[in-house]
Symmetry: C2
Subunit: 152 residues, 2 copies
DNA sequence: TGCGATTTAATCGCATACGATATATATCAT
DNA sequence: ATGATATATATCGTATGCGATTAAATCGCA
């Protein structure tokens, strides 16, 4: 038998990339939320920002960014949109005019009280595993960010 | 003691949203890959597309989209960019001129053979848990997409 | 055979992410 | 007090995602 041409070394498949699992799961969540949020006139990121705003009143853009792992370049347009929709109020802090503080308006709190994402619990198919899964993925995130900070 | 004003019902915190864990972990992966991919002149999505292209030769845009959970509106500009960088070739299928087939060029295979993402294994801090984690997150993704397909 | 329906990519518009920069305000050192 | 420095937010340009539409090619079926 003639020597076979060297098979092109198969590189690592997508299924072995944790980053791709996370990437594609994120796309999947966005699509699952889409019909729910369309009803409410919100995008996925806008909704997540509202959830973060409910955790503490009168957060600054910077504080909100720490919660969401985003910066003002991304948040400012989103917060302006949420303001125009009547879900939040933005105002300069009189004690430090550099700072903008965001407050959740009643319409925003009302929307969150309905917990529109809850109906996706079943769609995850994860049952009670959902809690440890959140924790493990959050840990992964924190590990990666710590690594990046180290070299940043 | 006068009756306390009803405490505003705390809505579900960000830490209990699996979607936020996934969302933020995805951002974290992008940031961890950034310095590595900057060296190679690639973006995160371009890199993932290359990995997917290595799995099968001469894939169509549609096939690649099924692997990546993306469509031609997102892929076409990315593939054109990878072509301009010399990592892939794009050509119409002579047997069906609607179809565009993508082939990985030697420069692309060489890049993948170096597995530039491998040095992030340690940064995940997940040790051998990384394999079951990939599987669980992929399962989550598939469950969510099945749900969305059901109502799409 | 021919023509409407289907399929595949590509294009367009909008909303994120994010690096780089700009702007306004506050702080600090003298 | 004042100028240099630092900080907080906003703006700008580029690269995704994605719904909607378009353009080209193929298919199906009378």
């Amino acid at each position: 038998m003639p020597p076979a041409a060297p098979a092109p070394a198969k590189s690592r498949p997508l299924s072995n990339f944790l980053c791709f699992a996370v990437y594609s799961a994120n796309l999947a969540f966005g699509r699952a939320y889409k019909p729910i949020l369309d009803e409410l006139g919100l995008t996925y990121t806008q909704y997540i920002a509202l959830v973060a705003l409910a955790e503490k009143d009168e957060q600054t853009v910077g504080e909100l960014g720490e919660r969401l792992f985003l910066e003002s370049n991304t948040l400012t347009p989103i917060l302006k949109k949420l303001e125009s929709l009547g879900f939040v109020a933005r105002r300069r802090d009189p004690a430090d005019e550099r700072v903008v503080r965001i407050s959740l308006l009643p319409a925003g709190q009302t929307l969150l009280d309905k917990d529109p994402g809850a109906i996706l619990f079943e769609a995850t198919g994860m049952g009670q595993e959902i809690v440890p899964m959140q924790q493990t993925i959050a840990e992964l995130r924190d590990n990666l960010l710590r690594h990046s900070r180290g070299k940043g």
